[in-house]
């Protein structure tokens, strides 16, 4: 009798897997990632390799050292020269453009992590910034059904209290319309990222990302970002970037500054 029940249970599990349900954990088994969190440190993506040390993303001459292919190293150097010339605008400056992945894990302001059995949402206040990680047992769309988007498609599963997910379908940077950070780093549309997101203590979270990209990288590139929990009761707010954007981009890529009358105060606009 017991053997028969186990067989039936096994069949139900198999049916569940086939229906895309088995990977979905019970809500009670999920970790508590509630609260408002803030990334630790500045917005250089790979702080382990940045030169000069403590260099800030966007400052002339600051760069990281991922294992770039020759083609993408040349592209990075070209972007670094643009930064020196003041003509490397941040694509999010136009407002409404997502940071994209993996940059969404590397932005200022605050984060919330909404965990449910079917999906986890990473909500970046500085945005628009939403990363959807599906954990309902689904597979990625077929390659011909996936197109490059800023944040791509993410499918994950739980390994204990760690959310492990892969991200594919990322948009290729065209004329730097999506970047990793303001040092000028970009990836190709071949990029995939495996992320392990977990709480390391009551007040700290960690995202370990391994970036692979057959066009841009000679080897996997591992980067870890950390997030600190802010005091209970902290608010995250709406971030309406277009509300009063006084920093539009000129035709030459220069970031302008508008006066209160809406006209540039820069001495040269192009």
């Amino acid at each position: 009798m017991r053997a028969a029940l186990l067989t039936v249970a096994g069949c139900l599990v198999a049916i569940g897997i086939a229906a895309g349900q088995a990977a979905k954990p019970a809500a009670a088994a999920l970790p508590d990632w509630s609260g408002v969190w803030q990334m630790v440190g500045p917005t250089v993506f790979d702080r382990a390799t940045v030169q000069p040390q403590n260099g800030r993303a966007g400052d002339p001459g600051v760069r990281e050292f991922p294992p770039l292919t020759d083609e993408y190293e040349a592209l990075y150097k070209k972007n670094i020269e643009k930064i020196k010339a003041g003509t490397f605008p941040d694509p999010i400056s136009v407002c409404g453009v997502p940071h994209g992945f993996p940059r969404i894990m590397n932005v200022p302001d605050v984060y919330e992590f909404a965990v449910t059995p079917a999906a986890t949402w990473v909500l970046a206040e500085n945005g628009p910034g939403v990363l959807r990680v599906y954990t309902d047992g689904r597979s990625f769309p077929a390659a011909e059904e996936l197109w490059g988007t800023y944040t791509g498609a993410s499918v994950g599963h739980w390994e204990g209290d760690t959310l492990v997910f892969e991200t594919r379908g990322l948009k290729e940077s065209r004329d730097n319309d999506v970047i990793i950070d303001r040092t000028g780093l970009v990836l190709s549309d071949a990029a995939t990222v495996t992320t392990r997101l977990r709480k390391t203590s009551d007040t700290m979270m960690e995202a370990q990302m391994v970036v692979e990209d057959v066009k841009a990288l000679k080897a996997p590139w591992k980067v870890t970002k950390q997030y600190r929990k802010l005091p209970a009761g902290t608010w995250a707010w709406d971030y309406g970037c277009a509300e009063n954007n006084r920093n539009p981009i000129s035709n030459s890529g220069k970031t302008l500054t508008l006066g209160p009358n809406g006209k540039p105060i820069d001495k040269k606009t192009d």
Binding site: F88, S93, V110, N126, W235, W237, N244, T257, P260
Partner: protein, 124 residues
């Protein structure tokens, strides 16, 4: 921080200051220079993606309006700021990283209210 030059209400101070998180490149600001604006608050735009503080500096009768960019109201509010922190007409000294091209604009560092001596931001 060392005061190196004083020009009728505007002081140029050597030294860098911590930048504010921004939604754009900060290439237009000279973060190696600090300008001290001795003036009056004209207007505050408590808006995303940045707040803007309009400061009028009176240089022997010649008034210049400076556009001072701050962080997002979201982050500032979590650090003790309010939409009413600065009020129109407040006499203040505001320190900024100025724009490189000499335009009367800059990135907010800190401020001191002249009447009360109260400060906000980075002020030492």
């Amino acid at each position: 921080m060392k005061l190196t030059k004083l020009i009728a209400g505007i002081a140029f101070i050597a030294g860098a200051a911590a930048p504010l998180a921004a939604h754009h490149s900060a290439a237009m600001f000279d973060d190696g220079k600090v300008v001290e604006l001795n003036g009056t608050i004209k207007e505050v735009q408590w808006t995303n993606p940045h707040i803007w503080i309009q400061v009028v500096v009176d240089n022997n009768g010649q008034k210049t309006e400076w556009s001072v960019e701050g962080g997002s109201p979201n982050t500032l509010s979590r650090n003790g700021w309010k939409a009413t922190t600065f009020k129109s007409g407040d006499p203040v000294v505001v320190r900024v990283n100025p724009m490189k091209d000499g335009t009367p604009g800059g990135q907010f560092i800190g401020a001191k209210w002249k009447e009360t001596g109260k400060t906000i931001g980075h002020w030492e």
